[in-house]
């Protein structure tokens, strides 16, 4: 039990810094996981700290909304590298990101999606979804009998479309 815990913890804490650097596209970014009790980490807590690119070490709750999102994704992907699920489903993770951070995150996802995982994302932002291989468009459709609004689905395969800006900025199918 102890061995398994340590193997998992050591794997993720070795990977987290490299993943955060490549997600933030900046070598000065740093991330580390530290047990509060080094001898027996499973007895106490494990702290997570990130140094945002260009900034100094400071407590995690000092980070801005966008900086926290990037730090969270780094941890998510580091955990995945230890225990790879076949796919991710991410619902509007880009809500707090500015366009610079969106293109960094999308760049990372496109690199990874080719090799070791499948990405299913929900997004409202063209800067994010225009790089996908396929779009699933959901649109509301009035059901006449019940007077209720239901959902209809249309799927677009984009794998043969060159990666350009696809949609007018309202991006709705």
């Amino acid at each position: 039990r102890f061995e398994r815990f340590m193997r998992c913890f050591e794997h993720v804490s070795n990977k987290i810094d490299e993943i955060y650097k490549s997600l933030a596209r900046n070598q000065s970014a740093q991330a580390f996981l530290g047990p509060e009790n080094a001898e027996e980490p499973y007895l106490e807590g494990i702290s997570y700290n990130c140094v945002a690119p260009g900034k100094r070490f400071r407590p995690m709750d000092n980070l801005s909304g966008g900086e926290k999102t990037v730090a969270a994704l780094a941890l998510l992907f580091a955990i995945h590298s230890f225990q790879p699920a076949p796919f991710f489903v991410l619902d509007e993770i880009d809500a707090a990101l500015d366009n610079t951070n969106i293109s960094k995150v999308v760049g990372y996802i496109c690199e990874q999606a080719k090799s070791n995982f499948q990405m299913i994302v929900i997004s409202l932002k063209e800067e994010f979804f225009s790089h996908a291989d396929a779009l699933v468009g959901i649109y509301p459709d009035l059901e006449v009998t019940e007077g209720m609004v239901g959902s209809q689905v249309v799927t677009l395969d984009l794998s043969n479309v060159p990666d350009t800006h696809l949609m007018p900025s309202d991006g709705v199918v």
């Binding site: 039990r1 815990f5 998992c8 499973y42 106490e44 807590g45 494990i46 702290s47 997570y48 990130c50 709750d61 926290k68 999102t69 969270a72 994704l73 941890l75 998510l76 955990i79 995945h80 230890f82 225990q83 790879p84 699920a85 076949p86 796919f87 991710f88 489903v89 991410l90 619902d91 993770i93 809500a95 707090a96 996802i109 496109c110 999606a113 080719k114 499948q118 990405m119 299913i120 994302v121 929900i122 997004s123 979804f129 291989d133 396929a134 779009l135 699933v136 468009g137 649109y139 509301p140 019940e146 209720m148 609004v149 239901g150 959902s151 689905v153 799927t155 395969d157 709705v172 199918v173």
Partner: protein, 159 residues
């Protein structure tokens, strides 16, 4: 492996039988507010064994199309996910339905107990206990802001 196709029957805002897919390496779900995007994520979580409270409903029977407004389209709803192993081309079809308020699980059409269902999911790398691959709407920042003890518990569950 990966998710190939999803089939939803009378699940939340999806009336009747609707097929979604095929999913590629990087698939984006888009559409206006309230159109049903997060409901589709709920369908994926549901078929993998997620419980009602994380599907934004109080009871499983509220997942049936029209149930929250007292006009259920049917007495059951069902979601199937076709998982594909790209190396061998093998496919497995996982299905979960709700009849009344209880769940029924099937693998390739055969009814199975929930233990067999979750063991088969674990074999392909899906551990619903730790759910590290699902991020619900508005939850992404919380992954980084857990307290130290919660983080230890997370590693505990993974190992």
């Amino acid at each position: 492996g990966r998710l190939k196709v999803l089939e939803v029957v009378n699940f939340k805002s999806y009336k009747g039988r609707q097929v979604v897919g095929p999913f590629k390496n990087f698939t984006a779900i888009i559409g206006p507010n309230g159109s049903g995007k997060s409901n589709l994520m709920d369908a994926i979580s549901f078929v993998l064994g997620e419980r009602a409270s994380n599907l934004r409903v109080k009871r499983l029977s509220d997942l049936i199309h029209g149930a929250p407004v007292g006009k259920p389209a049917s007495n059951k709803c069902e979601v199937s996910a076709v998982y594909e192993d790209p190396d061998t081309g093998d496919e497995i079809r996982f299905s979960r339905s709700v009849i009344g308020n209880t769940s029924e699980y099937r693998i390739n059409g055969r009814v199975v107990k929930v233990e067999e269902y979750s063991t088969a999911l674990e074999k392909i790398g899906i551990l619903m206990k730790s759910k590290n691959f699902l991020v619900y709407q508005g939850q992404v920042e919380n992954i980084a802001m857990k307290n130290a003890k919660e983080r230890t518990a997370m590693f505990e569950e993974m190992s």
